[in-house]
Symmetry: D2
């Protein structure tokens, strides 16, 4: 159970079978850093091209297609005070033809709202434009926007989007303490992560969270021979499945079907019990409704499962 310290020297804007930057054993943890969505590091310097550049990939020895990669998000820590968001809700999230009328000089296409991220206070507030939401703060909820594993067939998938391999799911529930499960498609699994958000609303409807660079620590492990189809996750309170697709209806289908199978396989529920239970106890979160693939989360409370005989 080694603990590796890794300092990245280059980044990737696709998730694919790129050369690993570090080989680790199942059970090892890694402490490293991620740059922000534009390639800015802890000092704010732009050190790589924009577009959710990823740290990694990390190769897990012994991982084979058909295994399940276990990623525990041990620590997600913004490592600077400057974050940024876009300042307008994306047009695909508003009524077709509804054009917002702003009374300021902010350039929606070229500018960002600047936020101060105060990790001591545990809050974020707008720094610029001056006067916007003056005196208002949001509690920090650091999360990882884009992470996942190399897909099959030699694909190299843009970090703008997501699919069965994970990717840019932009779900605010991927927080510190959560364990995420990915299907393994290639030997070594090849794990990437980046695109940290200090805060993000449901749906990432402005196209960003509060984008910022992170210090991260995660632990990588394997479940040999366990096939899953979509990213699964587990917090203290919930089992969660991410379905990634457009439209949201299809994301719901992916996530719900995977959850039914999870409950039948690992929680000894009959198909009937799984359907009846989910029918009255399932919950959904809207991950993102901005990226090329949208993300819906199907989840069930562990407290509900605990009450099963």
């Amino acid at each position: 159970m080694a603990h590796h310290i890794f300092e990245p020297t280059h980044y990737h804007t696709t998730i694919g079978s790129h050369s690993p930057v570090l080989e680790v054993a199942a059970g090892d943890s890694v402490s490293t850093t991620t740059v922000d969505s534009r390639g800015g590091d802890a000092s704010g310097a732009l050190v790589t091209e924009r577009g959710n550049p990823q740290t990694g990939p990390f190769l897990v020895k012994g991982a084979q297609p058909g295994d399940c990669l276990v990623v525990r998000l041990d620590q997600l820590h913004p490592n600077r005070r400057q974050g940024y968001t876009r300042g307008v809700i994306a047009p695909n999230v508003l009524e077709p033809g509804f054009v917002p009328q702003f009374d300021d000089l902010f350039d929606d296409d070229g500018e960002y709202i600047q936020w101060t991220v105060d990790t001591d206070a545990g809050t974020a507030h707008v720094a610029e434009p001056e006067g916007l939401l003056a005196g208002f703060t949001l509690p920090l909820e650091p999360m990882v926007g884009c992470f996942g594993v190399a897909p099959a067939r030699g694909e190299a998938i843009s970090t703008a989007t997501s699919s069965m391999h994970g990717g840019n799911m932009d779900y605010r529930g991927f927080r510190q303490g959560v364990t995420v499960y990915f299907p393994v498609f290639v030997p070594g699994a090849l794990f990437f992560l980046g695109d940290g958000h200090a805060v993000q609303g449901d749906g990432e409807i402005v196209g960003t969270g509060i984008e910022i660079s992170f210090d991260v620590t995660f632990t990588l492990d394997l479940v040999k021979g366990k096939r899953i189809s979509w990213p699964r996750a587990e917090s203290d309170e919930y089992l969660m499945v991410a379905g990634n697709a457009r439209p949201l209806d299809q994301a719901v289908q992916h996530a719900t079907t995977e959850m039914v199978q999870w409950l039948q396989q690992d929680y000894a529920l009959s198909a009937r019990a799984a359907h009846v239970l989910l029918g009255q106890a399932v919950e959904y979160d809207l991950g993102n409704v901005f990226d090329p693939a949208y993300t819906m989360i199907c989840k069930i409370s562990k407290s509900v499962l605990a009450r099963l005989a």
Copy 2:
């Protein structure tokens, strides 16, 4: 502020400009009953045709198109012990081509799961098929599945679906204590309600909550001259907007646009402030992903709004 006791003698399976069963003044409350989705009353007797039969309509004196009808759900109380749900997740919520394999003799098309609803204990559990989810209970969260006002143009819209007038939104957040706002389309508003659920999961993915008859009390009021486009609601914790459409993407568009306008009009936010705030603080709930129109809820925490200067 009169309090009316109303005992229904007939029901409607469309929401339209039907003859009012009672005329009330703005500010009055009404105590009445609703039958279950199949037309069953407190005794279990089928007293009307199936399909979310509605109690009402209630005419509010003075209501005119362009006003806003205010409905406070004062009391939602299951009035019998027998509830029922469907026993299989709807095919449109699962992967196309995924056909669940059940190992029981339950008839998905013709039978219902029977639940015991214990309002003293505040729980529900499966009564039949025997042995299914044995020993398991869910806490009651009574909610109204279908309610709303007569639409414009003389339309009479099936209680299977929903739109700007409300209707079969099947959102678990429409609970006791919540205040709901509907646009008024016709003189008198003509308010209907029915389809009570003792419990319901997000999305109503089996096509039912725990369907049951209710004793209900609600208060009807008006905001004169206040135009809204989609049902809005308010609980102690949240402002909420319901968008009703297919696919879910479009429901998101309706709900989000209405929320932006609400914040600008009633919370003195500039367009920019509304966009930036929602971007990082908005939440969404999945009302239903089963009915002809799906329902997405866009909501914002009152605790967030309270922190605005």
Copy 3:
């Protein structure tokens, strides 16, 4: 086989169980008129409220739920020279956020493009704004935008939209000479029609065809005991099915499933033969991508069917 001449005195903007204006026998034909989408008659006078006002309903004696209503469109004839269209592609048909930039003073929300419809020449051309598409003509292809039968359950459905009962399908293939089949939901069927277009592009992407009043003649007949689910149609060249829903994907599902069943029931194809044949020979038309429900047409060439043994 009587031939009725009917002169309408009022119109409906919902399709529902309204009082019949004329009772006819199966096999009878009717010659009547329809007003344009804004309620304008042959003289251009606005004689009723806007919104695809319908002529009818026509009651067919002996029609019962579970029968199939047969409507042959014998004659569709624009009866004046002035037509109109909207002048901008609807925002839901363009990229979210794409806002067209026009260099004229035309008011997209309040004005219409005026067309001259020359039934002698068989063409239409822009009359106003002057100079727009100067010298350009389109061949007339008169079609009926909105027609159908009263739905079940007492619904009265807006003539803005469509569903299993027909309605505002806005498919350019519903032309003179075509026979359309509707499911019968109520005794007498109750047939409505209106919303004639002198010309329309696929998809009705500006939200209108060239809107105009019509002289129409149609023949109504019945197939007793023949249940269908969605509007079917037949021209000299094609069998066609209309699926009406959002998104287009769902309209495709409705239309394709109905076509599979049609081929199996009436063309003696095995399920396998129907699937294999459609796989390589099916065609689709885009009816409308503007109305609340979109319309996709699934069709198969009669020349293909004629080659089956």
Copy 4:
């Protein structure tokens, strides 16, 4: 204007920045072969892995990002007699929950319908299962299912899907004689093609056309400095644009917006004229409704454009 004969030795199941197999000058033509979707060559031998393996990439000297690649499909010729299709309409094209009932022993998941492709007669007919569609033939309409150029950012996109770079569009209109335009994203453009179909219905609703290997000849050319966003094409009769996305609604948005821009840029239409003209004269074809991204074609007849002053 050289003419190259190229014999492939390996294939790709992603479209990405792979090493070019041949460098050609703008204006050159290439004659080569493509394998079928499972990797079968003219002899039927499986020479590479399945999944629409592509011949190429062909590098066009001088091509730079921001140019437009011109591909003329000079010859598309099935080079063997054995083709195959799947035998069941894909579940996403049928009503959710509609499960076809076949009365044969054909294995939908593992088997293919076998077709005889007779290029002399110009027809295809089912060879196996024996007796299926006996005596029935379809005229050959050879088309290329998957072709396109390397995308930006180092992506390598699966040949199962499509996007702005082209890819698996499965549109029956990409036939011999058609000229297709792709945006260039990387130096040299890097053109791939494969997945020939002897015949295909609209929508590729069984998930295949009649899959077969091809002898192909194409000519590659450049328009320097011409930026386009989506694949465009031109036949003798039509201008066409392919929009690739899910749901179909979004594919319509991509294709229509690109067509508006094409008409304004290259046909000297004002924005108003383009909107008004398309409104009444646009046509749409359904490319595919099976692949991860669906394809809608927006097209306008050249005979319409020819009538513009």
